[in-house]
Amino acid sequence: MTILEFFLWSLLKVAVVTVVMLLGIAYTVLLERKLVGRIQNRWGPSRVGPFGLLQPLVDGAKSFLKEDLIPTAVYRPIYLLAPILSLGCALISIAVVPFGANMGPHGFDLFEISNINIGLLVILGVTSMGVYGIALAGWSSNNKYSLLGSLRSSAQLISYELALGLSLVGVVLRAGSLNLRVIVEQQATLGIATWNIFGGFQFLAFFIYLMAAFAETNRSPFDLPEAESELTGGYHTEYSSMKFAMFFMAEYGNMINVGCVATLLFLGGWTSPLGNLMPPLQSTLVNALLPIFWFVLKVFLFLCLYVWVRGTLPRFRYDQLMNFGWRFLLPLAIVNIVGTSLWLAYR
């Protein structure tokens, strides 16, 4: 494979994955509106297209056509940079997520943009850079509600990032690698029985990851940075039109990223619930597409869980949030690491 071929293939992959990711974000919004609607005993969007399926397209067009207001007293360069930073970080992480078996022409990895040996750390790094989008948006807006929202958000993200990172250590210890493909393949041997959440006894880690991930993506019950009832919208109060839509997309993009990481680390990634017990099928096409089906299904179920929690739980108070993160999740994560290490050493 020449440099040019590699470049063209990579460009193709990036284009396809970005389009799929953006569509995924649009339809996650619809999924949320539909599901929350059903939880609250109403229909949700149902007018545009069959079952309201064209609603995301109409929403997108609406965001583009709205007037783009920039308040006079904002700090312009940072005000304009913040939404780009936010959305950019949300879209980059998917580059290291493998969503199918390693196959393709000439050993070329068709179902992952780049297979690198520190994939998990790259996701954590990109997520930690995503804080700046929110923090700078609130600061540059020159609005007290925005500033309060972004201060809350920064404090929350710093606190929960620690618990999030530590919860993943158990999985990394078991796999002995930070490469996401290795982590998934290690779970595939006996199917559902060897998924990290069950066979690996990492359900504690999964629980911690789930809580921390909800906080990291500013989702209910940890949606203090944008608490409508007290902050009118938090860090994106002063944003309108497409800039607001970019923050919105970043939030849903981060939800998808978190779903992908949870799927890869705890739920066996693209492997089927039977794992390697099921003999590979004859057809190459089915062998290529079946893993993608499993991956998408798992991420979809995770997103449904997200929406379910949002529709059910009330918001935390700020001191409860901090106490929960530092006094409960962090010690629990450390206990999980010690337990996993002892178990691995004993075995």
Binding site: G125, G138, S154, A155, I158, D319, G325
Partner: protein
């Protein structure tokens, strides 16, 4: 290819560093510092130290600098003021930095047992071996005692921060743990 990338990101790094000094508003300086740190991470990556690169991004660009911007935002720090001290520092500072750079580079170039890394090549001779594995072997076998002593040092810093926070009469909360970062 590697050379082009090296010059590109070295340029970013220098531009960020100069901008950091020239800007008068603390938040602009903090953002320039983030640019410096991420460009440095790319330079590490070009030298084949992928773990160092990503650690640089997670720890420095992602955690330490978030705290910096957090504090700048919290205190709502305004523009920098010119005082006698800052004028004196700008006079003495540049020669001092040049002198320090010269001394450090002489020591590093003269030091025995230090190899050199090359652009686009791995740090180790064995291809395909992750430098994560080698790094952890060095860290947890050969340098175990210094490593543990460092962690005790950090623990002392945390205890100190907790003691200070309690001395001021504040109740417990998240703030004292921030020092852990």
């Amino acid at each position: 290819m590697h050379l082009i990338l090296f010059f590109l990101f070295a340029g970013f790094c220098l531009a960020g560093a100069i901008n950091l000094l020239l800007q008068t508003h603390p938040i602009n300086s903090a953002l320039s510092l983030i640019v410096v740190m991420t460009s440095l991470a790319v330079l590490y990556l070009l030298l084949g130290a992928e773990f160092l690169a990503i650690a640089q991004i997670i720890v420095y660009a992602g955690a330490v600098m978030v705290l910096f911007t957090f504090v700048v935002m919290l205190l709502n720090a305004g523009r920098e003021e010119r005082t006698l001290g800052s004028r004196a520092a700008s006079r003495v500072g540049f020669p001092a930095v040049v002198a320090l750079f010269a001394v450090l580079s002489t020591i590093l170039l003269r030091a025995q047992g230090l190899g050199s890394a090359h652009l686009g090549q791995g740090l180790t001779n064995a291809p395909g071996q992750s430098n994560l594995v080698l790094l952890s072997q060095v860290l947890f076998h050969e340098l175990l005692l210094p490593f543990e002593v460092t962690s005790v040092l950090i623990l002392i810093a945390i205890l100190g921060a907790v003691a200070l926070a309690h001395a001021e009469g504040s109740k417990t909360g998240g703030s004292e743990r921030m020092a852990e970062k």
